[in-house]
Symmetry: D2
Subunit: 347 residues, 4 copies
């Protein structure tokens, strides 16, 4: 058994990490920490985590997090670097924040407006890489992992096989994605009130300014071995969880629907968490709720010359905490699927 | 006062038409008709239409619809032509179905798979046309109007000003839109059950096959005076009403954000139902619920060279029955805004 | 035309008041005021109120509210008394807050924990009174009206006819009601976040402590001419608007279903906003959305000896701002239904 | 490992049974059967059950169900008896339908209108019984179990401890409960369409006619050792899953809040799936989503003399399939909690 601490245990990402870790056959949950809520019972903040209801929340300090085999950081952007520096180098750290995701310091500076903290191993095991590799291989032996953002998880897995196989143009990728409200966290913002959200769809971060944009471009560039440019528009959907990403890219000349589909079958045929659906069946966020699955479907619009790939994930599971647990399994040499549900909670 | 009959009164489009007509200061509701439900009280099928609760539904026949100044047809595709042929030519007919929307018989054949019924005046008054005209002018004096589809209303109004002003490329327009479930009607399909829909986003009609695609292309081509090609992907959102259309197109070389915005201010500054929101504010379907409004916001992503315009409408009001009432007003020489709400029901 | 000011214009009650007043044929909207948001454009806070988007919000002061024929107060409890004292006595004031609803100072003290401000005419026109009167008559000539709470509107209208006719026992009334989230206002509370609310039902104010309890008892006591005791449990439902109140009371000995129904037909047969549905049809909050309607259905469970009356209203319309406009009409000698929709926005 | 077949695998109850059985450490899923969908891939009907996506659905026959250690029947009422008669007596049968729940043939006849099929062991292990027993003990050694209805599970566990301890009167229990739409199954009924359900609360089965009423009475009578009479009103809530039951009963003379609470602590302190929440915290259906938990809170309204107990469950998990798995564990001598989640999926 390995012991795992969770920093940021009162938020949605931290809560999902705890949900999954409680069900993990090889894990014992260690410290649960938070900022302002330190001292409270965890049950006040996460009433669904019944077995931990009476746990007292500790303050998020290096001290509280020490002594564990692994630490999940589910903290606001910018908080990870200082904390990580205080933890021993052999402690596995899975950072659900953005601090160490981007390799390009200039892109970081442009989109986040702060100094680049560095780059950790990127925690998207299924990502196909130019030259035939897969990101999984780069994770072995690591102790620091930057867990991908929720949108980049969905969008990158949606387009990487086509990018890797040279089936799409990279200079005019257009993605529109819808996310459930938990993607915005527990922050008290008026537009996140239930009264505002229910019955409403609205965009945000329009015009290429959403911070996940360079992360998607980085992933697709690594898949293709050439720079990729993405127009990315996120929207807020009236549901607590789920991302539906509609990803389109220019079809390579002469591309056929059959060869497009074949490239995805080849890429993901052996992946435990990625399902290319049978033709005629389309992804739905409800089908992956609470699971670590990625549902995909591909289409070629020959009339306009675009490939459309649609991906559905649970933003908190595969998109955050499930992806982190998957990486933890890899770091520890466990079965990559240990503790991770492949069955959604539906309806 | 003019008398108006509504055929298809038990469906969502028919119900919305009746809601608006009941509040119209110049209209008296005449016959309400349906197919299988003829003979029922209307209140059984439309419990929100209190003043008409005890009306008995008549069968949808030319006989029942005769003797009115205007007739709204809210019928399945294919049913309008035969019925219209039986009604006197001076009766105003507003067809909420698709039968007479497309001018191109080949496009009709390709997307609808049946014989083209013909083309009626297209009922989108605010549509900017190449050469400086506006579709409103073509509606005067008509007695037959093809009411636009819900998606084409949102998408065409979103991009037409930029297309007309030559600010966007027309050969690689990419649109992803989310619709509330009422857009799918009252048909008993398993994927429309509340248990399936709530908490779920899913795509449909992917790959350029949705029937609204050629209608959007037709409108944008008329706005630009040149052919337009659209990749259109619709998605189903967990809400009863509303369309959020995220419309992107290649930016013309040298386009500035200021001139983009200016073109929309110029196009829609005097329109009663189209609101270009102040910079920094984004459309939301909840804000237009039950109103005939179109909320718009424009953005230029200079990094990738795309214009992004987002539009929010109520699919049943501006997207269907409100658009029809607006046309009726034009046909009758009334104030174009008569009986049409410009205030949404929110939250 | 009368001019009406709205204090608390950025909240849900104030927004709904403005929505209705904008559509009122005899009203001009005057000042719109708020506290912290004074100086902002109204469109920032109420994007659905298109005609008022560019109005600048004034601070809520007696000065700003002066010079109007009527003033709506949509303020937190406790704020109305001081403000009302500063306004001329001939200005009609419609207080959507609780301050002046209760006649019993002790009940006020027990449930609100503060000093009783006084008692104004109670603004529930349809309330049946012991002896055969109706509350409407007490409103004529008033200039100060306490607009009822949302739950008391639904629950009192549900049971008053039976109470007045002596068809139910008054000592063991049990009510469970579900409310949409707008009933809790725009306050930034974690449990009101969309992520928390969607997909969830939960109770609050359990155990007889909700402040609407004595108000319901007061109304039913006035209807019956004898004290009434109510067990009232409110619950929060995953919808923005609407109240569904399930109201049960001991059936009087020998009561028949027919005479129960007859008492409601007699009480409400001529009421414009109260609909006793045909037998077999049940109220639904969606059917009254945005309208001033009250849908009712009655039932007698002879096996257990209880009357069950279910009422559906829109908590913001009939339950707050619509009720206030209805009273305004009465105070001004206008048609009681002026400007008030009797058609819901559905689906 | 035991093999378990599921009849009715395409419905919501059957799907939930499969979700839980797939995660059960001691179970292998055997045949999955259905009626009209036999021959289809299971993935077409249950896209969330990824590991079984390619399973071919067999017809629901005794033949297909034979050869398993246990069989779950998730069939329409009336279908179980004939099928059960054809299966060997040592096969464990867990009937999620109502056929064998009621001991009183007259009550069956009154509420179901058909002949009584008989009575099986009642599968609510935590039910407290008069005299100090618990229903768990009656399940040992059984091979036929009538799984409780969803409402009876929530309502009976909510009131049984007070009933058993003599803390409440039994002759005037009033329960109002809200259920998610999956409780109504996958039947194609207009009022279950997403467009109708979202944003709406409505009652059904009002007036004491809901079929779960005699089942609740039976359970409370067994808990108290005396007849119980229940006024039960169910409502449909805009969410896919969950039941919130607000259960009230006359308080016994002299009852104190402390002794009420104590009776629940004593009854459920050692129960794995029943959580009496800390004072001040209230159940929410979202907190138990996908889990086998029952969240409870108790309150005494001394002013009106009523006990109010609120329970939240997931209607498909603890309310149906989770309850069935729990019984299966008991029948097989496994740990009662094997394979059953005690952590909800939230938000």
């Amino acid at each position: 058994m390995v012991t795992v601490a969770v920093a940021g245990a009162t938020g949605y990402a931290g809560g999902e990490a705890l949900r999954l870790l409680l069900a993990h056959p090889e894990v014992t949950v260690g410290a649960v920490t938070a900022g302002a809520s330190a001292g409270d019972r965890l049950g006040e903040h996460q009433p669904h985590l019944t077995p931990l209801a009476d746990r007292v929340i500790e303050p998020t300090t290096a001290d509280a997090l020490s002594g564990h085999d692994a630490v999940f950081l589910a903290l606001p952007h910018g908080a990870s670097a200082a904390l990580a520096a205080e933890l021993p180098s052999d402690v596995r750290i899975l950072d659900c924040g953005a601090d160490f995701r981007l390799a390009d310091a200039a892109a970081w500076q442009e989109f986040y407006g702060s100094e680049h903290a560095g780059t950790w191993a990127y925690g998207l095991p299924e990502l196909r890489l130019a030259g035939g590799g897969v990101q999984r291989d780069e994770l072995t032996g690591q102790t620091r992992v930057a867990v991908p953002g929720c949108y980049p998880t969905a969008c990158s897995l949606a387009l990487a096989p086509a990018a890797q196989a040279g089936l799409i143009g990279l200079d005019d990728i257009v993605i529109v994605a819808a996310s459930g409200t938990s993607g915005a966290g527990k922050a008290m913002k008026p537009h996140l009130l239930g009264s505002e959200v229910m019955g409403s769809m609205s965009p945000y971060g329009v015009g290429g300014v959403h911070r996940h944009t360079p992360e998607i471009e980085q992933n697709l560039a690594r898949a293709a071995g050439a720079p990729a440019t993405v127009s990315f528009t996120p929207t807020l959907a009236p549901m607590p969880r789920g991302i539906l990403a509609t990803c389109t890219a220019p079809a390579a000349p002469g591309l056929s629907a059959a060869s497009l589909r074949e490239s995805y079958e080849k890429a993901y045929g052996a992946e435990a968490f990625v399902q290319l659906l049978p033709e005629g069946q389309w992804p739905a966020t409800a089908s992956v709720l609470g699971s670590n699955n990625v549902q995909l479907q591909v289409s070629l619009d020959e009339r306009v010359g675009r490939v459309i790939v649609v991906a559905a994930i649970d933003n908190l599971t595969k998109g955050t905490a499930g992806g982190a647990v998957q990486c933890l399994n890899l770091l520890l040499g466990l079965d990559e699927t240990a503790g991770l549900p492949t069955v959604g909670v539906s309806p």
